[in-house]
Amino acid sequence: MALDLDFSFLTPDIVKHNLVPAFEYSLQLTVVAAVCGTALGTLIALMRLSSQAWLQRIATIYVDLLRSIPLVMVILWFFLLIPSSFYAFIGGSFGEAHRPELAAVITFTFFEAAYYSEIMRAGIQSVSRGQTFAGYAVGMTYAQCMRLIVLPQAFRNMLPVLLTQTIVLFQDTSLVYAIGAYDWLKGFQTVGQLYNRPSEMYLLAAVCYFVVSFSLSMLVRRLQAKIQIIR
């Protein structure tokens, strides 16, 4: 037992300047990727369930491909392939200075869409067909049927699963390590290197990620219990 932990170097100032902004970035990345990923994922799910064979095929290839390649690989690919002019285009000089951070947002949106689409597909299929037929029978178009009848129920049925996947997504944001984006983990690492206390900072990182993920999953569990009563 040669490990003597010393957290005395960790002043509120360091926390405020290094860890809080890093946490905010991880959170932003999670929220943006979750919202945009769910939207894109729903679209892909609708494509997979459409009657057009070519739409089905494109969606299936997209989902299967992204689900068989590790996230780290996908992050590296996107960072390599996004042209550098793109960052200035969407973010001006801010975008130029924050390339890895922006690339991560784009990557996670497209990557998570594949996973969210599988959840949404199950959600859409959990709504009985009779409801769609009823919608058509009262003269609704396909779009109206989906928007007003099927998708709201699919979302509600799948909300706990979507949120659980989002917690996984939050943990996975640490993988932007691969392209050097300044996320929460990078914040811990930077402080650890700065004060030559890597062990303390890695342990603190583990505790912090645990607290956030665990409390979120507790909340999801509660929500699940609530939703089950409504149904």
């Binding site: 490990l3 068989s68 390649i69 690989m73 590296l76 943990q171 390590y177 342990l203 583990a206 645990f210």
Partner: protein
Amino acid sequence: MSNLLAQIKDSATLMCTSIDDPTVYPSCFAGKGDMTYLQWMIHGWGWTLLVALVALVIALALGLVIGVMRTLPNKWAVLFGEAWTEVFRNVPVLVQLFIWANVLPELFPALKQVSYAALACIGLGLFTSARVAQQVKAGIGTIPKGQRYAGLAMGLTLAQTYRYVLLPVGLRVVLPTLTSESMNIIKNSSVAYAISVTELIWTAIQAGEQASAHSTMYFVASVFYVISALTINRLSVLIERRTRFAGAMGGK
């Protein structure tokens, strides 16, 4: 179009080139003492599969024990099992690997002798064991409570009830989900590159730097990952078919 074709041809030639000098091997495989880029990438693929396999064995063994503990009629065993699952599930795998590589060797000097690849196997194995435990618990949970009581009422000990009544059914139920876990473990093993295990991602980055051809190496690595995923997918269909219960959906 011809530009793209030329690029593909260049990439193919690069893969058959020695990593030390500009020699191009027509067979794409160099003899002893030399190595082509393709061989280097295959070497990385081998490490990916090896790390994943060892981690999977650890995960299955530990996950089985922890999953069973969570169903035992003992408060402390259940609590331990739950704590184990929550800890390993709620800390990112990358953070866990950094702790295995950087923190624990400080705590236990004996670990300094252990290679990073072995530490990655342990770390990945423990991470996945939490997920396996979750599924084992769910599998045993699908069995009606009456079977457990029937076993105990017949005079079987608790261990015998698990051995002869609960586990044979429970494990058969979870086996298909476990194959998807083995696909996850191959994907998650890519994280081991961060502690310099020479697996596929690490090799792709190194080879990409050395040959100034990142996209070629990423492409080859991605193809290897897709091949691995497809193979496991085929296997899982096979396993699912073999383990289906008579009377269950699609079973004979």
